[in-house]
Symmetry: C2
Subunit: 608 residues, 2 copies
């Protein structure tokens, strides 16, 4: 029936990396391969000459293999070897031979290839920085030449880890009956929460799509549609002013389930994380995972994402330090501290430095009070005028302070604010004392978040999570109360997965009852019309049999970074943007043709 063209039935594909250009990779040859003639292809990492011989380190994704051109090789081969430069792409043919001076640090360190020929596949101009684990290139030059930076092991390993985690996530969730369903990237703009990136529609002049900040509404729609276990590894977009650890586009592991309560969601996804830790890192995490209420996290760690790799908990000493004539304490609503082990030897200068540190706007404390538990058993503090040695000993006892420790105390009128300041100080002290080993993993769930937070500027309630988060069923009386003090008490079946001081994911049980949803909008101050304009299709969909449902999303970039032992997501994204939202390698964004603007019915405004 068909013209069946002659097909080269090669036996070239014996091993899977074998191609027309190579028979082996640069990572696989061992002593047992000695005597084989092999063809390798890759990049010239390094060239050395030694006693008439030329040694070439050839690199590909799989490793480095040493090539040797003998002093008595043909002149043309020697000339070719001498013409090579760093990052040239070559094909090299030769015999696998045992090495004289072995390199036990490399898998291929027992062998070298005694070359018969070199074929230069492509030349390279001299790269602007070295392709080594520790490079001499600064951030800016490496960003511009990202394709060279990506040749370095740390970035390659980061992307390999990312790939591996993605495969594990998908196979785990697939085995649990989850379906990956792709939701649209061109969606409706809802001016709620963070700022949308928008996309002008040429076919619908004056109208815009938005890029999704998350597929939140679509995944809830999928629950209404009966897909009771959904997930997606999906790009999300937020047009925010960028901070170090933020990207305008980022990736989420987005998940939703129907016919579930919080317990089902937590058990399912700590199962996923347990499997990831085991299969990717070989690390066993507790079963079950610890859980901490939002209130305990704030009270004890001054953070809703506590790093529990180290203790150094916050203690509330408000009740025991007032009435000593120290007006700063007497006038504070909250006084709390942390006990930092082994730093009682801090000098005056060091303490002054720490005081300056907490007074920076990023922390915002008014000042710092210390109590030293000296090695000789005495106590010394910055408030000796107001507190006797006995007083100080008593306070130190509250912290369980030992000789050599120093207690750091902050105070103020707003309990949560002071706690957050103490939490920030606690993390700083953890860093200084080396208590935050990236190879130690201490995951936990934070649960029982407040449903609302008071927006003081606008004098109204904000949803702490989002307007579809359900109140705890046992608190419906408070939820329907018209007293603000009642509403403030309502908690959500919302949960965050926290690892080493970073929120890796979070979610909630959603509202599926239209009366509860209407009440939510009314508490948030949306009129019916506003609610319909913003969330109309979801509200409509909920009329047609919405099941009880809930879910969560993990920040995939952060999961990868933390699994890799890094706190910067940028190395775990192949082509990140810089802090101005620019891809400096590709030079994006850029101006576009006027004809493109015309087609989109847009004019660039002159006023700026």
């Amino acid at each position: 029936m068909l013209n069946l063209l002659a097909f080269r039935k090669t036996n070239i594909h014996i091993n899977m990396y074998r191609t027309q250009y190579r028979t082996k990779t640069c990572g696989e040859l061992r002593l047992s391969d000695s005597g084989q003639t092999v063809t390798l292809a890759g990049w010239v990492q390094k060239i050395r000459k030694l006693g008439g011989m030329t040694f070439i380190d050839l690199r590909d994704r799989y490793g480095i293999t040493q090539l040797v051109v003998d002093a008595n090789a043909g002149q043309s081969l020697i000339d070719t070897a001498n013409s090579l430069g760093r990052e040239f792409v070559i094909q090299a043919i030769g015999e696998v031979s045992e090495r004289q001076s072995k390199n036990p640090k490399m898998g291929t360190g027992d062998i070298e290839i005694r070359l018969d020929s070199i074929n230069i596949l492509n030349k390279s101009v001299t790269p602007p920085f070295t392709i080594e684990d520790e490079t001499d290139g600064g951030d800016d030059i490496r960003a511009k030449f990202r394709y060279l930076d990506l040749r370095r092991n740390p970035l390659k390993n980061a992307l390999m880890l990312r790939h591996k985690i993605a495969i594990e996530v998908r196979n785990y969730l697939d085995a649990q009956g989850f379906m990956e369903i792709e939701t649209p990237y061109l969606i409706k703009s809802t001016p709620e929460g963070a700022r949308d990136f928008v996309v002008p529609s040429r076919m619908n002049p004056g109208e815009f799509y938005a890029l999704p900040q998350s597929p939140q509404q679509y995944k809830q729609i999928l629950m209404v549609a009966g897909y009771d276990r959904y997930f997606q590894i999906v790009r999300c977009f937020r047009d925010e002013d960028l901070r170090a650890d933020r990207q305008p586009e980022f990736t989420q592991i987005d998940c939703e389930m129907s016919f579930v309560e919080q317990e089902d969601v937590l058990v399912t996804f700590e199962g996923m994380m347990r499997s990831l830790f085991k299969n990717v890192l070989g690390v066993t995490i507790p079963d079950p995972l610890p859980r901490m209420t939002w209130f305990d996290a704030m009270d004890n760690y001054g953070s809703d994402k506590p790093d529990v790799r180290f203790d150094m908990k916050i203690h509330d000493i408000s009740d025991s330090v007032k009435g000593h004539g120290f007006s700063l304490f007497d006038n504070s609503a909250y006084i709390g501290g942390i006990c930092v082990p082994g730093i009682s030897s801090y000098s005056r200068k060091q303490i002054d430095g720490l005081t300056e540190w907490v007074k920076r706007p990023q922390v915002g404390a008014k000042g710092l009070i210390y109590i030293k538990a000296e090695e000789d058993g005495s106590f010394k503090s910055s408030v000796d005028k107001f507190f006797s040695a006995g007083d100080l000993e008593k306070i130190a006892g509250r912290f369980g302070a030992r000789k050599g420790d120093m207690i750091l105390v902050l105070c103020g009128s707003d309990k949560r604010k002071v706690q957050v300041q103490l939490g920030t100080l606690r993390i700083e002290m953890g860093n200084r004392l080396g208590l935050r080993d990236p190879k130690v993993f201490a995951p936990l769930w934070i649960v029982d978040f407040p449903l609302f937070e008071w927006n003081e500027e606008e004098n109204r309630w904000n949803a702490m999570h989002h307007p579809f988060t359900a109140p705890k069923p046992e608190q419906l009386d408070l939820y329907f109360s018209d007293k603000n003090e009642d509403i403030a008490k309502v908690c959500a079946n919302a949960y965050d997965f926290v690892l080493n001081g970073t929120e890796l994911g979070g979610g909630s049980i959603r509202i599926h009852d239209s009366k509860i949803q209407e009440r939510m909008f009314s508490i948030l101050g949306f009129t019916k019309e506003e609610a319909m304009y913003k969330f109309g299709f979801l509200i409509n969909a909920f009329q047609y049999g919405a099941p009880p449902h809930g879910g969560l999303a993990f920040g995939f970039d952060r999961v990868c970074a933390l699994f890799g032992g890094s706190d910067s997501i940028r190395d775990y994204i192949a082509f990140p943007k810089n802090n101005q939202g620019k891809d400096v390698m590709a030079d994006a964004p850029s101006v576009i043709d006027d004809s493109q603007l015309d087609e989109l019915h847009l004019v660039i405004s002159k006023k700026q």
Copy 2:
């Protein structure tokens, strides 16, 4: 160290779909489960009353289970059952019992649940169409209520198939050493090829990102970066006027390899497709797959994506029908036809209809000549005046025509145009004769595409694939020739994967040599400046050691549709856009706030 909250060590999670709301799904109960008390949750598909009993079909993603409320059940249960409506969400508890009248068409058809209680989880207003395999809802209403349409089996099965194919693709490629690497969605606009969707940058006033039409340049950058086996299942965007089978956003399986020739790419990816056919459909496709040159495909099938499920090849009869005094033939450069089996009984009216059909602008033929091989052995044609019975028999012989067949002939001045018309007619006749069974799969590779096509309007060469496609190495003389007739002959190591008349994927070996790339730009008429502006970062990257590389991309939506036996991708996308690029469910695109426009430094143009 932590406040370890009390953890409900439930044994609820014995089976994986078990949650707080259900112990079993609606698809799993069998006769062997009789006597068990179970809790199900799902949607009310149907309610029937029969002799005082109420039968409820309860549906979830996994199937349908029949629930029964006995005539002698408690009044409150009977009342609740009577209050149910279609698509109500309920939780039902009862005992698995053998059914009186079994339904062998359903997995659960041997049993029913004799109910003890019903808990209405949510009500539903009456859906605007029936949730059945064959629904009474039209396209528009189903698009608006996509969440209800998605409850129907055909769409659910389509999305389940899509999920399964994605998992298979990823696991196959992962096992072959491919890394999935996410490339950016906010990239640089290059006004080449189709129209970009653009995204205004708030942080960089007057500048725009583009959404990728494909990650082409990034995947080539990854090859330069040493990632020799890349893939990504990735969304792509094209702002084109939409046709039936086009979507503004669509999904590709995007792949690239280094140190390869065409042979490596074809072997690797027909391996992937073979595995998909086997594991997803249980279908064995030939090993190796047939290959056909672009020239043979055009000459024999009038298409670069031939449907080879049926023969009906095109025959060139230019040489044998001229000189008979029929000026239409005598003045044509090309005369060709197809032999359609068993339609010699076509009436005058049917033939006239076919003639009108080929004269429609979508086909564009001037007219249709037929030769009937009648059942009695005689021949009859629309050109009897010019051709004797012997002449006709001779022509019919060229086609191998049998009694009862009819030969359809088209002619014209442009060989390829006439061939394409014949190819279109061939597909139409294949459809009419039922030769295009969607359950039959005939994949093949089309190879040896011309590198360039002449753009008559602009009087210049266009790249047939894209400007990074390499000429065949053995044709470099022609490629560097300055004669257009030589350049016209240059073929590419480019290839398409074609299935049942649809191009499912395609790709090429890329240029990695800067001289060949410069020549490409010069043939395409780009100045150095234009080339640098459009493709600068890739051209720069190629200076630093670009390996030989090539790849391809499959249209994932189409793969899914064809595997599902459909030729419409829309059912295989959870939330497609309509032909105006609108998501009518979510009402996107839409107008945005003036404040959003101000922040983006944009004004909507009044002139339209």
